[in-house]
């Protein structure tokens, strides 16, 4: 039915089509729909945290490690703070950090990838080896190195993660740009005098949209995991601001008395990351016709 509506419109713009296909695929594919629901729920929780959180996430009470059900729906942590409110604000921290990081890294990576893959020459000679070196650092270690140098805290965390995520975007875009530049239609575009900017926006970027979208979604999943890891190590977002990772590390210290402070944030991380992974898989299947049907879902 969606298809009929789309085709009934007069000349739908060409660039919309991947978006339409994607939406259709998400609705049709149950797994993708689950992913979408998880991501939307977590995003709503993050955005609406100040409105829906029953308590101030940093307000302490004497109900230390209270089990779920009483005053606090999901129980309380070792300082008597409401776990539900902390989890909601944790979603805010985790999702905003990841979104800033992946968007920032995506933009920088795409620009670097275009410079290297479209123009080649000395730009490629500088950018690509630099990316290779960054790539040759294990992800978490690179983030640790930056945090070690700059000290813990939200801004440094974001900086560290942006550096970590740039190379994968740059690599993908460079690869796409290098293949597209060789296509006859780019040649003819050049022949009729299109500027490099036009060529990039008309031919190169549209072709790179699918891999970028997949990379974007899976990077979000990964960024949430790394943010949580650094938070767990005490190197991420600093208390009292709630983050899932630091909630887990204080929860672990009290797990012999109550498991809830370790369960709630862990489940939140798992569901959010799972949501982005499912979404990423579906986007890959929907946007990359080469892979369609092969995954055999």
């Amino acid at each position: 039915m969606v298809t009929e509506l789309a085709s009934a419109q007069p000349l739908p713009p060409v660039r919309r089509r991947p978006g339409m296909r994607l939406l259709q695929a998400l609705v049709r594919d149950r797994i993708g729909a689950i992913g979408l629901v998880l991501v939307v729920t977590m995003t709503l929780a993050a955005v609406l945290a100040p409105l829906i959180a029953p308590y101030d996430p940093t307000a302490m009470s004497n109900q230390r490690l209270a089990p779920p059900g009483g005053t606090f729906l999901l129980g309380a942590d070792e300082a008597g703070r409401d776990l539900l409110s902390r989890a909601l604000y944790g979603a805010r921290t985790s999702l905003s950090v990841s979104l800033i990081v992946v968007t920032g890294a995506g933009i920088i990576g795409v620009v670097l990838g275009l410079l290297a893959g479209f123009f080649r020459g000395w730009l490629d000679g500088v950018i690509t080896p630099a990316m290779d070196v960054l790539f040759s650092f294990p992800t978490l270690l690179l983030a640790l190195a930056v945090v070690a140098a700059r000290g813990p805290g939200t801004e440094n965390l974001i900086l560290a993660l942006i550096i970590v995520f740039i190379p994968s975007f740059a690599r993908i875009v460079r690869g796409t740009a290098m293949t597209i530049v060789k296509e006859p239609y780019v040649e003819s575009g050049r022949a009729v005098g299109l500027s490099n900017t036009r060529l990039i926006f008309k031919y190169v970027l549209p072709n790179a949209v699918a891999p970028i979208a997949v990379q974007f979604t899976t990077s979000l999943a990964y960024a949430i995991l790394i943010e949580a890891s650094l938070g767990y190590l005490g190197l991420g977002v600093q208390p009292p601001q709630p983050s899932w990772g630091s909630m887990l590390s204080s929860g672990k210290a009290f797990m012999e008395m109550s498991m809830w402070p370790s369960l709630v944030p862990g489940i939140c991380i798992m569901l959010t990351v799972l949501g982005f992974n499912l979404l990423g898989d579906t986007i890959r299947d929907a946007l990359d016709p080469r892979l369609r049907g092969r995954a055999g879902r």
Binding site: P129, A130, D132, V133, S136, F137, P138, T139, L140, L141, L144, A145, V146, V147, A148, A149, R150, G151, A221, L225, A228, S229, Y232, L233, G234, L235, G245, L248, G251, K252, M255, E256, M259, S262, G266, I269, M270, L271, V273, L274, N277, L278, R294, A295, G296
Partner: protein, 315 residues
């Protein structure tokens, strides 16, 4: 073959150089000054400050600092811990076996889970086992490994009391020491298994569609022989690459998992270095781990060429 190995070796040189440069400058990125952050309140004593500066070689121009640091690096000198006064390399070598033991055990756990399940998943595609193992691997990809560690500690140490939750049990001898290894190795191995199971499944599916597999079936070989002899061997090539890529995830993962289990390896050493602001320790350990990672990848690359003769003729 020899030429390929040589090209790969040469390609690694700039990467190692780049890693060294980054590791050197990471410390120069510290806001303010290393000395002031170590000395804290004692900063007011200018004589002591100048002494410290000279001791760490910070009174030289930056390029000279780099050259002297790099020269010492080439001699295997990673500097001295600002806290203990011990050479960083000594502590690394002392802790390396623990990390290696954990990493290798995790890899074994991961292979034991991922290859059988990946193969079964592909050969019984869309069956119940396929659905189950794919779901498990998706969840495995989404669970932070330190949380899995916490859950395992809760179940096997706190609730059941079967396994120890902290340390490596050094000095407790053989079998008891093995008990300490189980939880960290399973924690780290399970998250790796999630990735390599997906990879095994998809490369197995790809191979099962190849002409030579059809030929093998057509000449009447049993499905078991087709899978084991013809398909599995070829599908393992990309899996080996993934295991190589996982060396990175493994090294990163050890840092977090070691912290969960207070495992006396390089991971806990880095984190201690970071929290104590012991910069030579951080720099040395990260450098060591990054070098290690590059070397592992180089080895994987070479094994890859060795296993897939098609790669030998090209480049």
């Amino acid at each position: 073959m020899a030429r390929i190995i040589l090209t790969r070796l040469l390609a690694v040189v700039p990467v190692l150089l780049g890693i060294s440069v980054i590791s050197f400058f990471v410390i120069r990125m510290i806001p303010g000054d290393v000395i002031s952050s170590i000395m804290g309140q004692d900063f007011s004593d200018p004589k002591l400050e100048a002494e410290m500066r000279a001791y760490f070689g910070l009174d030289m121009p930056i390029h000279e600092q780099f050259l002297s640091w790099f020269g010492r690096l080439l001699h295997g000198d990673l500097g001295t811990s600002m806290r203990s006064g011990q050479p960083v390399l000594d502590e690394i070598l002392e802790r390396l076996p623990a990390t290696m033991l954990l990493a290798v055990s995790a890899l074994v756990v991961s292979v034991l889970i991922s290859i059988p399940f990946g193969v079964l998943s592909a050969t019984r595609r869309n069956g119940l086992l396929d659905a189950g193992s794919r779901l498990a691997s998706l969840i495995g990809l989404s669970v932070p490994n330190f949380w899995l560690g916490i859950l395992l500690v809760y179940l096997f140490s706190v609730t059941l009391g079967w396994l120890p939750s902290q340390g490596a049990g050094n000095g407790e001898g053989g079998l008891t020491q093995l008990k300490y290894l189980i939880l960290p190795a399973v924690t780290l191995g399970a998250s790796l298994a999630a990735i390599s199971m997906r990879m095994t499944r998809s490369s197995m599916l790809e191979v099962l569609n190849q002409d030579y597999v059809r030929t093998a079936r057509a000449k009447g070989l049993s499905e078991r022989v087709v899978v084991a002899r013809h398909a599995l061997r070829n599908s393992l090539i990309p899996v080996i690459t993934v295991l190589g890529i996982q060396a990175g995830a493994l090294l990163g993962g050890t840092v977090v998992v070691e912290q969960v289990f207070s495992w006396p390896g390089l991971g806990t050493m880095v984190i201690r270095g970071i929290t104590q602001r012991d910069y030579p320790v951080v720099q040395g350990t990260l450098l060591f781990l990054a070098f290690f990672y590059v070397v592992v990848n180089l080895l994987v690359d070479i094994i890859y060429v060795y296993l897939d003769p098609r790669l030998r003729s090209g480049h």
